[in-house]
C-alpha cells in the first residue's frame, strides 16, 4: 500500500484544469472562480499533509510502481523531503490567495484563466517534488508554457505581447540549455534520475561535467533572473495581471534558484568538493552584479510593477549570494529568505493590484496624490516596504542574522562584512523605492514625481471601470501575506525546521540512500543563529531609516541643496542601464549568450 499523497498535488490541479477547460462555455464567472478556488484549496491541503509526513520521513514515490533494479532506476520518482513539500505548500497557498484576489475581479480571458492557473500550480508542484532530471525539464516547460499564456492575458494592447514574447523567447532558450545539459549528463552516466547521476558522477570534474553544470545553472538562472539573464522579468511583470505577478515574483523566479541548489547538492556535490572556493567567487560575482543592477534599476523605475519586478531581481540576486556561501546553513538561510520574500513581495503586488483597480493607473506620475483616501492600502504598502528592508519583526531579518552565521561556518568570516553591506544595499534601495512611491501616492508630499519612458506605457486597468469599489476579500490576501511574513519570526519551530530541512537537502549520501533504500539517515541540524538576531534587528532598523532618508531626498528634492539630492539623481536618466534594458528580444538573447560565455569560461578555467 503506497500513500497517494505525493501524487495528489499534481493530479488534483491537472484534473481540475481539464474539467474547467471542458466546462468553460457553460460555467459562469462565479462558478469558475469557486471551482478553481476549491481545487487550489484541496491541492494546498494535500501539500500540507505531505509536508507533515515529510517532516517525519522523506517520502519517495515511484510512478507506475517501477522501483529501481539494483543501481539502475527504471521509472520516475518524486522525493518529497521537507523543502520540496514545503515549497509545494507555498505554491498552493500563493495560487489559492491569487485566485481569491481575482474573484470576479481580474479579466479572465473568456474563462481560460482558471485552467491556466491550475496547470501553473501543478507545474510548480511537480518541479519541486521531482527527483528525475528530465521530469524536471518537463515541468519546467509546463510551468513556462502556462506562464507565457498567463502573461499575455491582456491582449487589448501591444505591450503585453511584447512582454510575453520576450519572456517566451528567453525562457524557451533556457529550456533548451537545460535539455542540452541533461543530455550531456545522460551521455556520461546513462541515467536520468538525479540520485543515480550523482552516484555515477562521483567526484568527476572534467570539462564535460563542468560544461553540463554551466548549461543547467545558466538555464535555471534565466528563470531566476540573475544578471545578465534578467531582462525578461521586468517586461513580463509589467504586463502580466496582478495575480499572475504574485506567482511570478513570489515563487516561479525563485524556483530557478531552488533547482540550482538541488542540482548542486545532489548531482555536483563531489564535483566541487575541491573547488568550492572558486565556485563561491563565481556565484558571488553574478549575485552581486544582480543585486547592484536590480537595486539601482528598482529605484529608477516609475512604473509600479516594473519597480517591484526589479526589486525581485535584486532579491533573487541576494538569495544567490547567500547560496554562494555554501554549506547547509547557507541553504537554510536562503530558504528562510525565499519564503519571507515570497510573502512580502506577494503582498506588495496585491496592494499594487488594488491601487490599479481603485486609481486606474500604475504609473507613479499619474498616481501622485491620488491615493490619499486609501488608508488601509497605504498601511499595507509601507509595511511591505519595511519587510523588503528586513526591518525588525519581519522574517526577512532572520536571513540577515543567519547570513553571518553561515559565512562564519563556511570559514569566510572576512567576507561577512561585505555580504552584510550587500544585504543592506538591497534592502535600502528597494525599500526606498517603495517608500518614495508611497509618499507620493498616499500622502502627495513633495514635488511631482520624476518619470521615464516605460512608466508612460498606459497599462489598461484589469477590471471593469464601473465598479471601482474594493471588497474586504481583496484585502485578505495581502494581509495574510504580511501577517505570515511577520509571524514566521516568532514561530519557534520554523527556524529549527528550516535548518533541519536544509541539512537534508545538502547531505548527498543521505539523499542517495533515501532514494535507493527508502531509509533516512539521522542528521544533525546546523547550528542556530539566535545570537545574531539582535544585531540583525539593529541593522534592519538602520536600513529602514536609511531608506526613509533616501526616499525623502527624492520626494523633497526641491527643498534640498543640489548635492543632497541623491535620490533624485538615482532616479535620473542612468543612460547606460536603461539602454541595456531595451525591450528588444535580440538584445536579450545577446546578453544571454554573453552571460553563458562568461559563466562557462569562468567555470572551466577556474575549476580545472
Amino acid at each position: 500500500m503506497t500513500s497517494p499523497l505525493p501524487a495528489l498535488p499534481i493530479a488534483l490541479p491537472l484534473l481540475g484544469a481539464g474539467l474547467l477547460a471542458a466546462l468553460r462555455k457553460w460555467l459562469s464567472r462565479a462558478a469558475a472562480d469557486s471551482l478553481s478556488i476549491a481545487v487550489a484549496a484541496s491541492t494546498l491541503i494535500s501539500s500540507l499533509l505531505l509536508l507533515s509526513h515529510a517532516l517525519q520521513h522523506t517520502q519517495v514515490y515511484w510512478f507506475g510502481n517501477w522501483h529501481p533494479r539494483g543501481s539502475v532506476v527504471l521509472g520516475i520518482t518524486f522525493v518529497a523531503d521537507p523543502v520540496a513539500a514545503g515549497l509545494s505548500s507555498l505554491a498552493g497557498l500563493l495560487v489559492f490567495l491569487a485566485l481569491i484576489f481575482s474573484w470576479r475581479f481580474v479579466d479572465s480571458g473568456a474563462n481560460h484563466y482558471h485552467a491556466l492557473m491550475l496547470v501553473f500550480l501543478a507545474a510548480m508542484d511537480g518541479f519541486v517534488l521531482t527527483g528525475d532530471l528530465f521530469n524536471m525539464f518537463v515541468f519546467f516547460e509546463l510551468m513556462s508554457t502556462a506562464a507565457f499564456a498567463l502573461c499575455g492575458l491582456k491582449t487589448q494592447e501591444p505591450a503585453p505581447l511584447q512582454g510575453s514574447f520576450n519572456f517566451a523567447v528567453t525562457n524557451t532558450v533556457a529550456a533548451f540549455l537545460v535539455l542540452t545539459g541533461i543530455a550531456l549528463l545522460y551521455a556520461v552516466t546513462g541515467a536520468l534520475n538525479m540520485a543515480q547521476i550523482g552516484l555515477a558522477l562521483g567526484g568527476r570534474h572534467d570539462p564535460l561535467v563542468l560544461f553540463a553544470f554551466t548549461l543547467l545553472t545558466c538555464g535555471f538562472f534565466i528563470k531566476a533572473a540573475i544578471a545578465p539573464f534578467h531582462f525578461w522579468l521586468p517586461d513580463a511583470h509589467a504586463v502580466a495581471p496582478t495575480s499572475v505577478c504574485v506567482l511570478f515574483s513570489g515563487l516561479m523566479v525563485e524556483l530557478g534558484l531552488y533547482a540550482v541548489v538541488r542540482l548542486k547538492s545532489v548531482i555536483f556535490q563531489q564535483t566541487f568538493a575541491s573547488g568550492e572556493t572558486h565556485l563561491r567567487y563565481i556565484l558571488l560575482a553574478f549575485g552581486g552584479a544582480t543585486i547592484l543592477i536590480g537595486g539601482v534599476m528598482c529605484y529608477a523605475e516609475h512604473h509600479l510593477k516594473r519597480l517591484l519586478a526589479f526589486s525581485t531581481v535584486c532579491h533573487t540576486g541576494l538569495m544567490l549570494v547567500i547560496f554562494a556561501i555554501q554549506g547547509p546553513l547557507a541553504i537554510a538561510v536562503m530558504l528562510v529568505y525565499l519564503v519571507a520574500h515570497a510573502f512580502v513581495k506577494s503582498s506588495l503586488f496585491f496592494v499594487s493590484g488594488i491601487m490599479l483597480h481603485r486609481l486606474r493607473s500604475i504609473s507613479e506620475n499619474v498616481l501622485f496624490g491620488r491615493g490619499r483616501p486609501l488608508r488601509w492600502t497605504a498601511a499595507l504598502w509601507f509595511l511591505g516596504g519595511i519587510g523588503l528592508a528586513a526591518g525588525p519583526c519581519f522574517s526577512t531579518m532572520l536571513a540577515d542574522a543567519g547570513m553571518s552565521s553561515a559565512s562564519e561556518e563556511a570559514g569566510i568570516h572576512g567576507l561577512s562584512w561585505g555580504l552584510s553591506w550587500l544585504f543592506m544595499f538591497a534592502g535600502v534601495m528597494t525599500c526606498a523605492a517603495v517608500f518614495r512611491v508611497g509618499m507620493h501616492t498616499f500622502a502627495g508630499w513633495g514635488d511631482a514625481p520624476i518619470t521615464d519612458r516605460s512608466a508612460q506605457v498606459g497599462e489598461l486597468p484589469e477590471t471593469e471601470a464601473e465598479e471601482q469599489k474594493v471588497f474586504w476579500y481583496h484585502f485578505v490576501p495581502p494581509l495574510v501575506c504580511i501577517l505570515l511574513a511577520i509571524a514566521l519570526t516568532f514561530i519557534p519551530g520554523w527556524q529549527y525546521g528550516v535548518r533541519e530541512a536544509a541539512a537534508r537537502v545538502y547531505d548527498q549520501p543521505a539523499y542517495l540512500n533515501m532514494v535507493y533504500t527508502g531509509h533516512s539517515i539521522p542528521l544533525t541540524a546546523p547550528r542556530s543563529w539566535r545570537n545574531e538576531i539582535p544585531g540583525a534587528a539593529i541593522r534592519g532598523t538602520i536600513a529602514v531609516l536609511l531608506a526613509l532618508c533616501l526616499a525623502c531626498t527624492s520626494v523633497f528634492r526641491g527643498k534640498l541643496a543640489r548635492g543632497l539630492r541623491i535620490g533624485a539623481f538615482l532616479e535620473g536618466p542612468l543612460t547606460i542601464l536603461r539602454a541595456v534594458q531595451s525591450g528588444h528580444p535580440g538584445d536579450y538573447v545577446l546578453w544571454l549568450t554573453v552571460g553563458l560565455a562568461v559563466f562557462g569560461s569562468a567555470t572551466l578555467i577556474i575549476l580545472r
Binding site: 468553460r24 462555455k25 510502481n65 532506476v73 521530469n135 492575458l153 551521455a187 546513462g190 553563458l596 562557462g600
Partner: protein
C-alpha cells in the same frame, strides 16, 4: 543598440560559447558507442514485463509515462494559450470583411485527388494509433495525421465543412477530456493503493493489438487530445478567414 553593434558583440560571445560546447563534447563517449545502462535495461525488460514490442512507446506511455502526462498538459496549456491570445474581445464589434481570400484557388483535378487522399490519411492515422505498442507510431503521431486530414478538407476549399468539423464547441470539450482522461487513468490505481499511472490492465499476448495493458488506452487518449488540439489551433488561426469577420478598429 544598433544592429551592427549587436552583431559584433554576438560574434565574440557566440563563438566562445560554441567553442566551450565543442571542447566539452570532446570528452563525451565517441559517437556510436552508447554505453547504457538505462536504455539497455529497458530494451531487455520491456518485452517480458510489459508485453510491448515497441520499447520506445513502452517508455513513453509506461516507464516514463509521467513525463508524457506532463507533455500532454504542455500541449493542452499551449492550445488554451493560443485560443486565449487570439480570442475575440467581448466589446469589439465585428464587421463582415466580405470575400477577400475565402477559398484558396484549386483546380478540379486537385480536388478530385483530395477525397481519396483524405480517406487514406484517416485510415493511416487510425492504423498508426492502434499499433503504437507494437510498431512505430502511437497516439501522438496518429493525432497529428488525423488533424492534417481536416486541414486537407480546408485545402479542398470546402470551408463550410471545415467550419462544421472544427468550430464546434465539442472539439474544445473533447480536447480537455482527452487530457483529463490521461490523468484519470493515472488516478485509478491510487484507489487500490498503487502509485499513480501503475498498469492494472491485463498484459495480453505479446504482439497482439489488444496487448500491453494500459499503453494502448493511454495512447488512444493522447491521440484524441492531439487531434483535437491541432484542430483547435488550426481553426483559431483560420477563424477570421473562415468566418470572414474581423474586429473593427
Amino acid at each position: 543598440m544598433t544592429d551592427r553593434l549587436r552583431l559584433a558583440i554576438f560574434l565574440v560571445a557566440g563563438p566562445v560559447f560554441m567553442g566551450l560546447y565543442c571542447y566539452a563534447a570532446m570528452n563525451l563517449p565517441p559517437w556510436g558507442q552508447y554505453r547504457g545502462p538505462y536504455g539497455d535495461m529497458i530494451a531487455k525488460l520491456a518485452v517480458y514485463e510489459r508485453h510491448a514490442t515497441d520499447t520506445v512507446n513502452a517508455i513513453n506511455y509506461d516507464y516514463r509515462g509521467f513525463d508524457t502526462l506532463g507533455e500532454e498538459f504542455i500541449l493542452f496549456t499551449a492550445v488554451i494559450g493560443v485560443m486565449m491570445l487570439l480570442r475575440r474581445e467581448k466589446d469589439v464589434p465585428t464587421s463582415p470583411a466580405g470575400k477577400v481570400a475565402d477559398r484558396p484557388p484549386l483546380s478540379e483535378s486537385v480536388r478530385a485527388v483530395i477525397s481519396p487522399a483524405l480517406l487514406i490519411t484517416t485510415i493511416f492515422g487510425f492504423y498508426i494509433g492502434l499499433h503504437g505498442q507494437l510498431t512505430p507510431g502511437g497516439g501522438f503521431q496518429a493525432g497529428v495525421i488525423l488533424a492534417s486530414a481536416a486541414i486537407l478538407v480546408y485545402l479542398a476549399a470546402n470551408t463550410e465543412a471545415f467550419k462544421r468539423t472544427t468550430s464546434h464547441v465539442a472539439v474544445e470539450v473533447v480536447e480537455a477530456i482527452g487530457a483529463a482522461s490521461y490523468a484519470l487513468i493515472g488516478i485509478v490505481p491510487l484507489l487500490i493503493g498503487l502509485p499513480l499511472l501503475t498498469n492494472i490492465l491485463p498484459l495480453g499476448v505479446t504482439g497482439d493489438v489488444l496487448s500491453a495493458g494500459n499503453i494502448a488506452l493511454i495512447s488512444a487518449c493522447v491521440g484524441v487530445e492531439v487531434t483535437a488540439a491541432f484542430l483547435l489551433v488550426a481553426y483559431t488561426y483560420l477563424e477570421e478567414i473562415v468566418t470572414g469577420e474581423i474586429p473593427e478598429e
